[in-house]
Amino acid sequence: MQLTGAGAQVTAPRLRAETISKAFSGVQALSEVSLDVRAGEVLALMGENGAGKSTLLRVLSGDHQPDSGRLILDGAAVSFATPAEAHRAGLRVIQQEPEIVPHVSVAENVYLGELPRRGRVVNKRALFAQVRTDLERYGFAQALDPATLGADLSPAQRQMVEILRALASPVRVIAFDEPTSSLADHEVAALFDLIRRLRDDGVAIIYVSHRMPEIFTIADRVAVLRDGRFVGERSIAVTDTDELVRMMVGRDLSEIFVRTPRSTVDAGEGDVPVLELRELETDDVHGINLRVRAGEVVGIGGLMGAGRSELAHAVVGDLPIRSGYVAVSGKQLRLRSPADALRAGIGFAPEERKAQALLLRRSIRDNISLAILARLSRARIVRRGEERDIARNFVRQLSIRTPSIEQEVGNLSGGNQQKVVLARWLARRPKVLILDEPTRGVDVGAKAEIYSIINQLAEEGMALLVISSELPELLGLSDRVLVMQEGRITGELSRGEATEEGVLALAMADDLSTTGESA
C-alpha cells in the first residue's frame, strides 16, 4: 500500500476495517466485515435492526474488542483497548444514547477532563466563553444553553453535547449512530450543515441511519450490513431506495407504508369521545382541548420542546395537572399516578425507552408482559405458558431479532428494544393508547409492520394519540394532526389538508419562522 504522495492521499482510505468479527453469547453480531472510509467523504452505514451497525461502531471506538480482524488508520494498524485510546487517535463515535453527567452544566460536560483552569481553580468565564463560541460555530446556539444541567437536557440536546465533546479535540474519523432519531427537522438541517463542514475539512464520516431521505441528502457512499455480514456498497449517485432496501432485507419490499384510509368517524353531537382533554393546564402545557374518538388516530406534531411529551405525561397522571381535566368515555378522571390512568384505560409508551420504559436486565418476556401481569395471573400466579406464547408472538410479528425470548433486553440492538416497548402496549390493548415517537430507531421493514398494526388497532376501535417528529410518519398515520408550539395547540389539520409545510408553519414560533425556512 502506498502511504505517501498526494495521489495516494486521495485514494487511500482514512480508516479501513478488515474482516472484523465479533460474537456475543449466542449471537454472531459481526462476521468478517470489511469496510473503508476515506477522508472527506460521508459513508452511510445501513442495515436492519440488529444487523450489527452499532457493534461495528463500538469496535471502532474501542468500546468492544473484535474477536478477529483489525483496524487500519491512515495506513497503520491500530487497536484500541479503551475509548480513551480511540479518542487520542482521533476516532470519535457519537453514541445512539450518549452518556451525560447529570449534575454539572452543559459547558462542563463538553470539556469534561479538559476544563480550562487557573492553577487548580476552574476558569468558569473562559469555559463558558469557549463553549459559547463552539455553540455559535456549530449552529447549536439557539438550542443549547451552556449553563443548563446535564439532567435537564432533552435527548436532542444530549446529542449536541456529545457532538461538541467529540469536536473539542482534533478528529480524523467521526461516526454518528442514528443521530437524528431524536432531532426535529431544523436541528437535522443544522446537523447536516455541520457534517458537510467537517467533511470539507477532510474528516472521514460514518453515518448510521434508518431514514432513507437523509441518506440521499448527506451520504456519498452507502455500505449495507445484513445479519452481521457486509452485503455491499454503492455510490449514492447510482443507487436508489428500492435497491438499498433490497440489500438490507434481502428481498423486495413492495411498499414502505400502506396508507389505509379509515372511514372518518362522524362527529355527531351525541357521540362521546374515548379520550377528552378540557382546558388542561400543567407547568408546561396550557389550555389544551382535544378529543380522540374510538377508531381514530390523532397525531401531535411540533418541535422538540413544544410540550408534546409533557402533555402525554400529564394525561397519564405522571405530571401534576393544575386545572382542567382528562376524561375517558365521558368520565372525568382523578389522576394521581399512571396506575390511575391505566385503570381508566389509558396506556402510554414513552419516548425514552431506556430511561422510562425498559427493564434492561430482565428478559424480553418479562418486559413484554409487564403491563398485563394481573391479567395473566390466576390467584396471583403468573401463567408462564401463556406469557411465553404472547412474547413469542410479538417477537415474530415485530421481527425482534434475538436468539430467545429469555434474552436480556439490554443486549438487544436499539431498534429491537423499541419494538419490545411497543409490544408491551400492544399486548395490553388499552382503550386509549398514547405513543411517543413509536418508531424511533426502527428499520424500514419493521416500521411498515408497526404502522399496519396501529391501523389495525384503530380499526378495532382503539383511540390512539401518536406523537411523532417524523413528518411522513405523522401525516401517514393520523386522521387528524394537532400541532403544538410552546405548550399550546396552534392548529389542527385534517388528513386531507395536512402537509409537511402546513405542520411546520404551525410548529414554528413567529420569530423563528425565518430561520425555519432557511433551514
Binding site: 428481498r251 391505566l342 427493564l359 411498515a448
Partner: protein, 345 residues
C-alpha cells in the same frame, strides 16, 4: 402484510428454540453462576473444616449450625426483598431487639405466650409501616430512614427495658418448643427459616407481586409508567420486613429465655445485608433471588461455626465476614461488567 412471510418463519424458529446447547449447560444456567460458586465455596469450606476437626460433621453440630443461622436467615430473606426493590433496611436488628423485649414483657404481665407473640408481631408491622411511610411519603432515602429507626428503636427497646434482659420464658411450653423443639428431626427454628424462605421464594418467582418487585428495583420510572403502584409495594415490603423482624425477635426471646433489648440482635442488620449481597442480590436492585441468599446464609453459618470449633478468636470472625462481603461485591460488579471508571453505583 404479506411481504414479511419468509422472515417471520426465520425469526419464529430462532425464537422458539431457547438454547441451542447441551443439557448440562442448561442445568447450569438454571442454577446460575452465582449459586454454583456459592456451592463450590461451601463444599470447599466444609472439606477444610472437616479435615481439621471431624466433629464438624456430627449431626448435632449440623443442627447447631441450623439453629444459629435461622434468625439471621429469615432476616436475610426479607432483606433480599427490600434490596430487590432497590431499598435497604438497616433497622431489622433493632426491630428484632424491640419486639424481643416486648414479647417477653407482655408474656410476663399477661401470662400468655400467644398474646406476647401477637403483640410483638403487631409492633413489628407498625415498625415496618413507619419505615415505609417515611420513605414513600416523606420522600426520604431508604438508608437514611432506616438508619433513623435503627437508632430510635434501639433506644426505645432500652428505654422500656431499662437496658436489661426482661422476664423469663424458659419454663413456658410455647417458647421452649420454638427454641428447642423439633419436627421430623428438624429443629423448629430451621422449619421457620424453611417456611419463610420458601414462601418468599415462591412469591418472587411465580406471582405478579414478585415480578413487580423486580420491575420496581430494575427501573422505577418504567414500572410506574407501566401502571405499578410503587408506594403500595414499598410500604408493603417494609411491612413484611417488620413482621419478619418481629418473628426474629420472638425466636430470640425463645432461644435466650428472656427479652433482650440489644444482645443477640445487634449486628443482625449487617449480617443480613452481607448474606443478601453475597447471595448475588444487586445493591442497585432488580437482580437476585432467595436461593442465593439462603446459600450465603449457610456459608456464613458454616464459616462462623468452623472458626469457633477450630478455636479461632471471635474478632477474626468479624474480619472474615467483612472481607467476604467485599469479595462478594467486587465479584458481582466484575460480572456485571461495570466499567472501571466513574463512581460505583
Amino acid at each position: 402484510m404479506i411481504q414479511t412471510d419468509s422472515r417471520e418463519l426465520a425469526t419464529a424458529e430462532t425464537a422458539t428454540k431457547p438454547y441451542a446447547g447441551n443439557p448440562i449447560r442448561r442445568v447450569l444456567d438454571a442454577i446460575g453462576v452465582q449459586n454454583i460458586s456459592l456451592i463450590i465455596a461451601l463444599v470447599l469450606l466444609c472439606a477444610i473444616i472437616g479435615s481439621q476437626n471431624s466433629n464438624f460433621f456430627l449431626i448435632s453440630n449440623v443442627k447447631t449450625i441450623g439453629t444459629t443461622v435461622a434468625i439471621v436467615g429469615i432476616l436475610a430473606v426479607v432483606q433480599t426483598v427490600v434490596m430487590l426493590l432497590g431499598g435497604l433496611d438497616i433497622s431489622v436488628g433493632s426491630a428484632a431487639g424491640l419486639t424481643s423485649v416486648i414479647s417477653a414483657m407482655v408474656f410476663m404481665s399477661a401470662k400468655s405466650a400467644a398474646l406476647g407473640i401477637a403483640v410483638a408481631l403487631v409492633v413489628g408491622v407498625a415498625v415496618g409501616l413507619l419505615n415505609g411511610i417515611v420513605i414513600v411519603y416523606g420522600r426520604v432515602n431508604a438508608v437514611i430512614a432506616t438508619l433513623a429507626t435503627y437508632a430510635g428503636l434501639r433506644g426505645l427497646a432500652n428505654l422500656i427495658s431499662n437496658g436489661r434482659a426482661q422476664g423469663y420464658t424458659g419454663t413456658d411450653s410455647t417458647f421452649t418448643f420454638l427454641a428447642r423443639g423439633s419436627l421430623g428431626g428438624i429443629p423448629i427454628l430451621v422449619w421457620v427459616l424453611i417456611i419463610i424462605a420458601l414462601a418468599v421464594h415462591l412469591m418472587l418467582r411465580y406471582t405478579d407481586i414478585g415480578r413487580n418487585i423486580f420491575a420496581i428495583g430494575g427501573n422505577p420510572t418504567a414500572a410506574r409508567l407501566a401502571g405499578i403502584n410503587l408506594n403500595r409495594y414499598v410500604v408493603g415490603c417494609y411491612v413484611l420486613v417488620g413482621l419478619v423482624a418481629a418473628v426474629a425477635g420472638v425466636l430470640l426471646t425463645a432461644r435466650t429465655g428472656s427479652g433482650q433489648p440489644t444482645s443477640g440482635s445487634q449486628g443482625l442488620e449487617l449480617q443480613s445485608i452481607t448474606a443478601a449481597a453475597l447471595g448475588g442480590v444487586a445493591l442497585q436492585g432488580g437482580k437476585g433471588g432467595i436461593s442465593g441468599t439462603v446459600l450465603a446464609v449457610i456459608l456464613l453459618g458454616v464459616l462462623q461455626n468452623g472458626l469457633t470449633i477450630l478455636g479461632v478468636n471471635s474478632f477474626w470472625q468479624d474480619i472474615a465476614q467483612g472481607a467476604l462481603l467485599i469479595v462478594a461485591v467486587v465479584i458481582q460488579q466484575r460480572r456485571r461488567g461495570v466499567r472501571a471508571y466513574g463512581l460505583p453505583r
